[in-house]
Amino acid sequence: MAGVWIFAENHTQGLELLNTGRILADKTGSRLLSFLWHDHQVAEDYLACGADEVLLLPPLEESQPLEAYIPVIVDELREGDADIFLLAATLRGKDLAARIASRLDTGLCSDCISLKLDEDNTRLEMERLVFGGAGIQKVFCSSRPQMATIPPGTFEAAVPANSRREGKIRELPSSPATAVKILEKKAKERKSANIKEARRVVCVGRGIEKEEDLAMVREFAQVLGAEIACTRPVSEEMRWLPEDLCIGLSGIEIKPDLYIGLGISGQVQHVIGIRDSKIICAVNSDENAPIFDVADYGIVGDLYDVLPRLHEELGKLL
């Protein structure tokens, strides 16, 4: 009984995977099964949103990491002869996926941004970004299950069906103890809470000469109603802004309506984090800076000279 299986860390990600999973299950004429661990209350929602079966993973002890589920998930996928297994590409999700793929001796497409079935509705044709966002790698998986991790926000969330959908809810066995223990969980100081949802983002790069100069950028951002962010050198080398405001590869990815990059050269590792912005605007003194190749609008000029006047001109329109 082949089928499509999904695993997500939270409800929203779950709905996103249900949406794409349902399409794949319909095309392959198979069932859609969802693991669920974080909130058993939403099992009925999952059925309404497209799952044929919801598999409840028993709650973990406080000290047990998410990886405790690996043996149970692996057994389930094997017994069910899973054809496709999709996971949300969270940090824990990616770790889990790689380890499950290893145990099942199968291939995994990491951070898959696009997937579709081939003409025979058997093989998944998947795409992912490589070389820091400069290239798109098109891959397929020759073993089963075909596995992929999918970044949250890649697909729309599924909505409940109008008519009542029938489905099963099944409890899975509890997980064996792990050698790895969680000693403590520290909640994040939510500095970047608004960045991912921000409609406007002002981002600073190496072109900022002194930490004090951030004050004028902050004022500018405030006038725009924008959140402030930075490139990796600013957070990692200068340590002027916290690491969770760093945009790009191994940082965060944003999708604002307006992104304004100040003194940013436009290295591919940064650009990967802004590629889904609606409008990209950049100020840089080097007219050959790669940021201008990926910007809708650019100003070639000295940041310190341009910013006060940009501040003023935009202020007039707000």
Partner: protein, 254 residues
């Protein structure tokens, strides 16, 4: 005292990659480098050695002409390197790299701790570390920002979406490190010269005892296009006013 093994990859420096007019990636004129995140992995290995003693070795799988990469890695502190190389080791996918590493490590190398970068700066699949741990049957703590050794256990701070998990695991253990765990030191001339004298253990395909067929197959790598206006303005006040009006017209300033 811990025996530490760090993994590294010698790869294309993506900042040299340009898209050709036909939408292909031009990989002809590129230069190579040590994967960014592996520099953090090597640095953390050396830092732990400075704190707790023990040994640091480095290991890589690659093409025979990656010797420059081996030297680069050694210049950053490890005492010796295991260089698994063959002409066919181009474009290995993560399951193959992990299988090859696991085969050699389990048969030839003693270790308490294996440290990998969180991903490679070319393909960034972030799979080799966790897959290698699975193949070796040891615990894996991925995406860590901080690590210390406490007796025969590793205590590490692992980044998760909603904060940090402080994790404890018995050695041997595999870690994958985030770039913010440290700032890799830049090798000096002495380090570079010294690296040439360090032992390199060459391992060939004939030494492998397992099979490692690719499971993920690449049909193509094309240039990621960003459909953008690319309109440039000067820095005169009139230019800036025009830009402001253009943003207003786009509906993003109102």
């Amino acid at each position: 005292m811990p025996e530490i093994l760090c993994c590294f990859k010698w790869l294309i420096d993506e900042s040299y990659i340009r898209a050709s007019s036909s939408g292909e990636l031009d990989l002809e004129t590129v230069d190579y480098k040590l994967s960014n995140y592996d520099r953090n992995a090597i640095e953390e290995s050396v830092r732990l050695q400075e704190e707790y003693g023990g040994t640091v070795s480095a290991i890589t799988v690659g093409l025979p002409d990656s010797t420059k990469g081996v030297k680069d890695a050694l210049s950053r502190g490890p005492e010796k390197a295991y260089f698994i190389n063959d002409d066919s080791f181009e474009n290995l996918e993560p399951s193959q790299t992990a299988a090859i590493l696991a085969d050699i490590i389990s048969s030839q190398i003693n270790y308490d701790l294996i440290i990998c970068g969180e991903g490679s700066s070319d393909l960034y699949a972030q799979q080799v570390g966790p897959r290698l741990a699975e193949k070796l049957g040891i615990p894996c703590i991925s995406y860590i920002q901080k690590v210390q050794i406490e007796g025969d256990r590793i205590v590490a701070e692992k980044k998760v979406e909603d904060g940090i998990e402080v994790i404890s695991a018995p050695m041997p253990v595999l870690l994958t490190v985030l770039p913010d765990i440290n700032t890799p030191r830049i090798p000096g001339l002495k380090d570079t010269l010294g690296a040439s004298k360090k032992p390199v253990i060459n391992i060939s395909k004939d030494d492998l005892t397992v099979s490692y067929e690719a499971k993920i197959h690449t049909n193509a790598i094309i240039a990621a296009s960003m459909e953008r206006n690319c309109q440039k303005f000067g820095s005169e006040t009139e230019d800036i006013a025009n830009l402001a009006r253009a943003l207003a017209k786009e509906g993003v300033i109102k």
